[in-house]
């Protein structure tokens, strides 16, 4: 069903339906939730459980031009009557969430959340991963503001502002964008000449953009929120590491050994920009601890956070934490238990944690950013400022600058 009048597409040549995230949320999804009429029925309703990703292209065609992404509304179907988990299985496979939900902001406030899902053929847990990716957008929900992991230093202010007018769970309607993951092929820059060399049918529309992207390094084009996500993982992983590695002595070693098995795929993912070539990172001095009075467990862990730095494995420890946190990760945005081990957000350990997080944020941005995006720099600085406000170790954060 394309938008058409008398069988003729009324999308003029050269125009594509490629809404911004703000348009998707604030125009289309809001109208849908409010049951308002939407001009030209561009985004249609779909029963996600009955539609395989490869059928979406035909079903959600807009106009006659080549299309790389497809849009539909879906009503979230609860997997279990009492639970909050969503059933996203189809006849041929299932959609599985990956990573963490990303908050979507307009110029003013948070307007919604984006979940990234991957389609697996077959049945869990033996599904076969495909290249089909779905971004599922939902309007802001109030409960997410109470999620402790969501309240990172960077997002805290904005989230607090947004939660005041959050409208609660919005009716279960989501708007989805489905696309096929492009395999990372580095296009040689050549100033933009590489743009038109995409193989494949649907892609020639992107030539201009692809050329630009090739010049600036496709890998990092969307790294602006990566730091934020890393920080969220840090918050979670501190706790989890505590559970995972109960004996403090030698724990780092065994954890490392365990994690190093998993390091290769990360290295592969990061391509030629692997962290192995990172310059040695400066470590925050342990003296930062002395002017705070952390609780014993927190202090022990905070020391452990930095324990590796003396032996030069700081970035390894950071990766351990990332990997460990993921391996132990709760599926699909689970709720972090509020136990005593949640040292990163303990009041008593706040200064130490800030310091540690700032340090790892520097590591993370080096890891992800390389010599790249200004976006992550901004994040880093805003974070550093907020950390400095609550911490007395301002001068210690100065080395965070890249």
């Amino acid at each position: 069903m394309s938008i058409s009048v008398n069988g003729q597409s009324c999308v003029p040549p050269g125009f594509r339906f490629h809404p911004t995230e703000e348009e998707l949320l604030n125009y289309y999804l809001r109208k849908k939730v409010a049951s308002q009429q939407i001009d030209l029925d561009v985004i249609r309703d779909v029963d996600l459980n009955k539609l395989e990703p490869w059928d979406i292209q035909e079903k959600c065609k807009i106009g006659s031009g080549p299309q790389n992404d497809w849009y539909f509304f879906s009503h979230k179907d609860k997997k279990y009557p009492t639970g909050t988990r969503t059933n996203r299985a189809t006849a041929a496979g299932f959609w599985k969430a990956t990573g963490r939900d990303k908050a979507i902001y307009n110029a003013v406030k948070r307007i919604g959340m984006r979940k990234t899902l991957v389609f697996y053929k077959g049945r869990a847990p033996h599904g076969q991963k495909s290249d089909w990716i779905m971004h599922e957008y939902r309007l802001e929900d109030a409960s997410s503001a109470a999620d402790p992991a969501a309240v990172t230093a960077a997002a805290a202010a904005a989230a607090a502002a947004a939660s005041s007018d959050a409208a609660g769970q919005e009716d279960g309607w989501v708007v989805c964008r489905v696309f096929k993951k492009k395999h990372q092929h580095k296009e040689s820059g050549g100033g933009g000449g590489g743009g038109g060399k995409h193989g494949g049918g649907g892609e020639h529309g992107h030539s201009g953009k692809a050329a630009a992207a090739a010049q600036q390094g496709l890998h990092y084009s969307s790294s602006d929120d990566a730091l934020d996500q890393i920080l969220q993982y840090m918050g979670r992983s501190c706790k989890q590491e505590h559970e995972l590695l109960s004996p403090p002595q030698g724990a780092a070693g065994s954890g490392r050994a365990a994690a190093s098995r998993y390091l290769r795929p990360i290295d592969t993912v990061l391509g030629g920009h692997g962290f192995m070539k990172l310059p040695p990172l400066e470590s925050p001095s342990a003296a930062a601890l002395t002017d705070t009075t952390p609780r014993s467990s927190a202090g022990g862990d905070a020391a452990h956070l930095r324990g590796g730095s003396g032996s030069g494995i700081t970035d390894w420890a950071m990766m351990d934490r990332l990997v460990a946190s993921h391996l132990n990760g709760q599926p699909d945005g689970g709720v972090a238990p509020a136990d005593d081990h949640q040292l990163c957000f303990d009041d008593g350990a706040e200064d130490a944690a800030d310091c540690g997080l700032a340090f790892y944020s520097a590591a993370a941005s080096r890891l992800l950013g390389g010599g790249s995006g200004s976006g992550s720099d901004d994040d880093l600085w805003s974070f550093a400022r907020s950390a400095a406000a609550t911490s007395s170790s301002t001068e210690r954060l100065s080395h965070v600058s890249l």
Binding site: P13, H18, P19, G65, K96, G191, G208
Partner: protein
């Protein structure tokens, strides 16, 4: 955006190479009205790329305009020079156009500074063949003669251009937004595999 203003939010001018050549350049060259007629013609001297705002059609961070083909792509403050081999634009199995990629340099050629401004300049190819002039780097247009009402002989003199700042890609908003997985997403995706490995081992 001219005649497309009745489109609902989410539609953006984002033409493919083929559309630029077939729907816009070919019609322009044939003196047919373009539908929608949104791409302006900038005939006289070429503008510096930062001067295009308000003169050319802006779509995201890109500017589109028609012009006459010329060998001297000189502006008040610099010049455009070709930076890579021409590409052909195909439609329906035929070569219909030629796409040149040029970069803008500020100053005189002897001491010019290359900028991040890029121009894609599309030429028509007649009868599906390459123009003889295109295989060499010599001129594809020799004279800026006026329209004589005979489309076939005129066509090769029109070009349609897309100008953009190659460093501003991430600010475009509607091109790549949400269409690429972030680096971190890729890490998670990769780790998902290992989740499954470890699950099946346990």
């Amino acid at each position: 955006m001219g005649g497309a203003s009745e489109l609902p939010p989410g539609f953006h001018f984002f033409p493919s190479d083929e559309e630029l050549v077939v729907h816009f350049l070919r019609r322009k060259a044939s003196l047919l009205p373009c539908q929608p007629d949104i791409v302006p013609t900038l005939l006289l001297n070429r503008y510096d790329p930062w001067e295009l705002n308000g003169k050319a059609l802006q779509a995201g961070d890109q500017w589109y305009f028609f012009s006459h083909a010329t060998q001297r792509r000189v502006t008040p403050n610099g010049y455009w020079s070709s930076i890579c081999a021409d590409e052909t634009v195909r439609s329906g199995g035929c070569n219909v156009g030629l796409k040149k990629t040029l970069a803008f340099s500020i100053g005189e050629p002897s001491e010019a500074i290359e900028t991040n401004w890029i121009m894609h300049e599309y030429h028509l190819l007649l009868d599906g063949r390459k123009e003889s002039s295109s295989s060499t780097s010599t001129s594809s247009s020799r004279k800026s003669h006026k329209n004589k009402g005979h489309p076939n002989t005129e066509s090769k003199d029109w070009v349609i251009c897309r100008v953009f700042d190659s460093t501003r890609g991430s600010q475009v908003g509607f091109h790549e937004e949400g269409m690429e997985l972030s680096c971190l997403d890729e890490v998670f995706l990769s780790l998902d595999d290992y989740d499954e490995v470890s699950l099946s081992n346990n």
